[in-house]
């Protein structure tokens, strides 16, 4: 089994994995970080979105071995102690989550958007969320939260 080493939320980690191990399973099963979820098997729902070297990716469509040497950030790595990241705070403030299952991927995806586009329009937010499915909220409050977070992150 190949050895894979990467940095997850600032911490160096290393493990022997079957080559067929997906990054999401490496995070959930090897590292016990279950905040990243699996909601589909066709790379569409976005519940598994994490950042690799700052870019949002679907960790269900990346082999753990492909993340060799990478800096991975997951939902568990956002808050500073008890202080939520402005995107997390905006989601809470705007009731942008209900069951919470899509939320980690949604938040990670949204942060990538705001990192690229400091002042996204409603249309830009909605289009950016193409890769994130939510069945609970109707997206209304998610869009609101992202717009609010963009302001807060400026």
């Amino acid at each position: 089994m190949p050895t894979v080493s990467m940095t997850v939320n600032g911490k160096a980690v290393s493990a022997d994995v079957e080559p067929r191990t997906l990054l999401v399973h490496y995070l959930r099963e090897n590292l016990g970080m279950t905040g990243t979820h699996v909601g589909c098997d066709t790379s569409q729902c976005g519940a598994c979105v994490v950042h690799i070297d700052g870019a949002s990716v679907k960790s269900c469509t990346v082999l753990a071995t492909q993340a060799e040497g990478a800096k991975v950030t997951t939902i568990e790595g956002l808050a500073q102690g008890d202080k939520l990241h402005p995107m997390q705070e905006a989601f809470r403030e705007n009731h942008a989550l209900q069951c919470g299952f899509c939320t980690p991927g949604m938040v990670m995806s949204a942060i990538d958007l705001v990192n690229r586009n400091k002042n996204p329009t409603e249309r830009e937010i909605r289009e950016w969320l193409e890769g994130n499915l939510c069945r609970c909220t109707g997206y209304h409050n998610i869009v609101k939260a992202i717009a609010a977070a963009a302001q807060a992150m400026r």
Partner: protein, 793 residues
């Protein structure tokens, strides 16, 4: 009002753990020694299983066991039970076929369980499953709702001729016929209510964990109602003592009905854990969810409305065929009957209604409740029919509705279809929605769209629903095999903080916040000192769970009852401590006081005295401050309201865009406006999804599920939807202590009809009269292309 009490948009208590990745969903749980199950499913819609060879799979790497239907039979496991018996119009019970946990001789839909492989890892289990050889004899299958009763249709069950599960009717057919004979005008409609796949974002999962030392079974599962699962699984399937079974539904990632039912996988992992002596986990891939989660809707209906000269509704006749799938899921039979026909009066004074429903078996995944469950189907029939009536009478859709509304002063209102509405104000919700949606200004917007070559349409739905499910005696009299009360325990701790144990289950609804507000308001306790506990049968009292928008109306009422007992007991203790008469004790904002004096005791002092009963009326009163209550509702609750939708259609491609959506709902008393709006918005997305995007498709010949993944089943995405304008105009429920009605389903109930009325309105100028849901681009383009009056002409 308490600072975080009723009516305040308190930010959700549960959000912190979800936002930081620290929720605990079933698949997040890992037990020591845990192994993994893979369910091998039928690739055929219908096939005889001539033989199954599992030797190779058993010898594969990491495999611990392989079980088939023969093992289930050998252990004499029962089938998955159905919780509702529908009796047909001739007094005959429905056909109720066995629903085996793993099939042995015949698979009846694509996805039916045929074997389970248990291995050290999930990949190993799946690898080994490919080594199982099954000799299938594929048989002709039927998947079409409309064709299921035809002579040429193969039979799903020999004991169900014509594939008929039941032929049920409600109402006076002769009276309806007589009214139609006298009608000045008749509106007629043929409609399909498209089959939907619920798609909660968390796929189902289950972990079975048998403790041989105690003879105790634990099942962690993605359920909306853990006690119902415990009862059904222990009493009917595993046949083990109920008290030896714990069912825990931890954080659950959405349900929408699909996680109400007792599923085979839950029984399989629990049973298998004992067989192999290790915890067994199963988690569905999304592809498995598509072919094993109960689906929703799937009706084919002909409906007619008789009208007099003035557009007054005289009578309605509805004939529906409803697809049950291959087996009867837990509550399937009641959805197209008691949750459907009883709603056909809508918000109107239609005096006579006759409805017949034929439920049919097909070689498809079972169909059961999905958000709204029967009520969106009823609303779709009524509200599409009313628009049709507007057309035949030449009246404006808003006007014909006004002429037929049940007036404000007519409540309680007895409908011709069993139910009695307690309150409502349909005129106001219509007026507010028309104002909010600028109905008056529509023609200007239509003209503006036309300038850009687009067709614009507006549509209304003034809907009703029955929820807060349900009075046990009523549902029992019509076939329910369960009661539908709810339970609550209020535990005031010695220091005055409060734990609430509820039989309701939160899987997105925000109960941990709403219920805490309720308790904060009633007991005057700071919301930070209240915790809501739900989901674990070892902790909570027997409860019926969450569905049918019932948690606040039924579960919340149980909490109120239990709190009333707390207050009553607290008054007795206070009277003793304050040396006053019990009748003179008042309770307000967390303080017991003697009327007209400044003598008082805080709740925490009372609870302290109750648990340290040194100075205590010990001869009359037990120590402790904990009360339990069960609440069985006196009636359903009846939320209603008006949805106004505006669409724009690209004539070149047929694409329909929702450009404006206004909802004004009457949901009774609102505890947390923020959560209420969120519930409506989510429901609207599902309703718009049904109208324009979502549709489960089976191949008519092979019976294969064509929409078997997100590659083909269109889930609503953020860019498919507009921002919504949502508000409430509330009348109070008259029969529960909170005046609440329920909000979980309203969004999905009113919206499909509003959207489709808008689509038909947009296309009417072309002479197009029928577009079925989902109104996909191609469907609309075809209609435009073959339209009697082409747009270009």
């Amino acid at each position: 009002m308490a600072a975080n009490g009723i009516g305040v948009s308190v930010r959700r208590i549960e959000d912190y753990r979800f936002l930081t990745g620290r929720g605990t969903y079933t698949d997040d749980l890992n037990r020591p020694g845990q192994v993994h199950a893979f369910i091998l499913r039928s690739p055929h819609a219908r096939a005889k299983i001539k033989s199954i060879k599992t030797d190779k799979a058993r010898r594969a790497d990491g495999v611990i066991a392989v079980f088939t239907g023969a093992d289930i039979e050998a252990d004499q496991l029962g089938g998955l039970p159905c919780g509702w018996m529908v009796t047909d119009r001739h007094g005959k019970p429905m056909v109720e076929p066995a629903h085996p946990v793993i099939v042995k001789d015949e698979a009846r839909h694509v996805g039916d369980q045929v074997a389970v492989v248990i291995a050290e890892t999930r990949s190993q289990a799946r690898d080994a499953a490919e080594l199982i050889t099954i000799d299938y004899q594929a048989l002709p299958a039927i998947v079409s709702t409309g064709e299921a009763m035809s002579k040429s249709a193969p039979l799903v069950w020999d004991q169900a001729p014509q594939n008929l599960c039941y032929d049920w009717a409600l109402g006076d057919q002769a009276a309806a016929d007589a009214a139609f004979a006298k009608a000045a005008k008749v509106a007629k409609l043929d409609i399909v209510n498209n089959r939907l796949i619920p798609n909660a974002m968390e796929p189902r999962a289950a972990v079975g964990d048998y403790d041989a030392a105690k003879g105790h079974y634990t099942l962690h599962t993605t359920s909306q109602n853990p006690h119902v699962i415990r009862l059904l699984m222990s009493a009917y399937v595993l046949k083990v003592p109920e008290h030896k079974v714990r069912v825990n539904a931890p954080d659950v990632g959405g349900g929408f009905g699909s996680k109400i039912y007792h599923y085979a996988e839950e029984a399989i992992v629990t049973w298998a854990s004992k067989k192999i002596g290790r915890p067994v986990k199963w988690t569905a891939d999304r592809s498995e969810s598509f072919m094993s989660d109960a689906h929703g809707r799937d009706h084919v209906t002909h409906a007619e409305l008789a009208l007099d000269q003035n557009g007054t509704f005289l009578a309605m006749k509805v004939s529906t065929t409803a697809n049950m799938g291959a087996y009867l899921s837990t509550f399937a039979p009641c959805i197209p009957t008691y949750l459907y026909a009883l709603l056909l009066a809508g918000v109107y004074t239609t005096p006579t209604i006759f409805c017949e429903v034929r439920a049919v078996f097909t070689n498809t995944v079972p169909v059961d409740a999905y958000r709204g469950a029967g009520r969106p189907e009823a609303t779709f029939v009524v509200e599409r029919l009313v628009d049709e009536a507007a057309k035949v009478t030449g009246l404006d859709p808003a006007e014909i509705r006004r002429r037929n509304f049940i007036p404000r002063n007519a409540f309680p209102y007895q409908t011709p279809v069993v139910v009695q509405y307690d309150s409502g104000d349909y005129q106001s919700t219509l007026d507010l929605a028309l104002k909010g949606g600028d109905y008056a200004g529509f023609e200007t917007r239509r003209a503006e769209s036309a300038k850009r070559g687009k067709l614009r349409g507006i549509g209304l739905a003034t809907y009703i629903e029955a929820c807060g499910i349900a009075p046990s005696a009523v549902v029992g009299s019509v076939g329910a095999r369960a009661g539908l009360y709810e339970s609550a325990v209020i535990r005031v701790h010695p220091t005055g903080s409060v734990t609430v144990l509820t039989g309701s289950h939160s899987h997105g609804q925000g109960h941990e916040t709403t219920f805490a507000q309720l308790v904060a308001e009633r007991l005057g306790v700071d919301i930070a000192n209240i915790e809501i506990v739900h989901g674990d049968t070892d902790k909570i009292p027997f409860g019926m769970g969450t569905y049918g928008s019932r948690s606040l109306a039924v579960g919340g009422s149980a909490m109120v009852k239990a709190m009333d007992k707390i207050i009553a007991k607290g008054k007795k203790i206070a009277a003793h401590l304050l040396e006053a008469a019990e009748a003179d004790i008042e309770f307000k904002d967390g303080t017991f006081s003697v009327a007209g004096t400044d003598k008082k005791k805080a709740l925490a002092e009372i609870s302290g005295a109750a648990y340290v009963p040194h100075h205590y009326p010990i001869n009359e009163l037990e120590p402790g401050l904990e009360e339990q209550a069960f609440y069985d509702p006196a009636n359903f609750t009846f939320p209603g309201g008006c949805h106004v939708c505006e669409v724009e259609i690209d004539q070149d491609t047929g694409t329909v865009n929702v450009v404006k959506f206004t909802a004004v709902d009457d949901v009774g008393r609102v505890i947390n406006p923020m959560i209420v709006e969120g519930q409506v918005q989510g429901g609207l997305a599902q309703g718009i999804g049904q109208a324009l995007l979502e549709g489960c498709v089976y191949d008519q010949k092979s019976g294969q599920l064509v929409t078997g993944s997100y590659m083909d089943y269109t889930m609503p995405r953020a860019d498919n939807l507009p921002s919504f304008t949502v508000s409430t105009h509330n009348t109070l429920c008259t029969h529960n202590p909170l005046g609440v009605k329920g909000v979980g389903e309203v969004g999905a109930i009113g919206s499909p009809a509003a959207v489709m009325n808008a689509v038909h309105n947009a296309l009417a100028p072309l002479g197009i009269t029928r577009i079925d849901m989902p109104a996909t681009a191609e469907r609309v383009w075809k209609a435009i292309n073959g339209a009697p009056r082409r747009a270009a002409e």
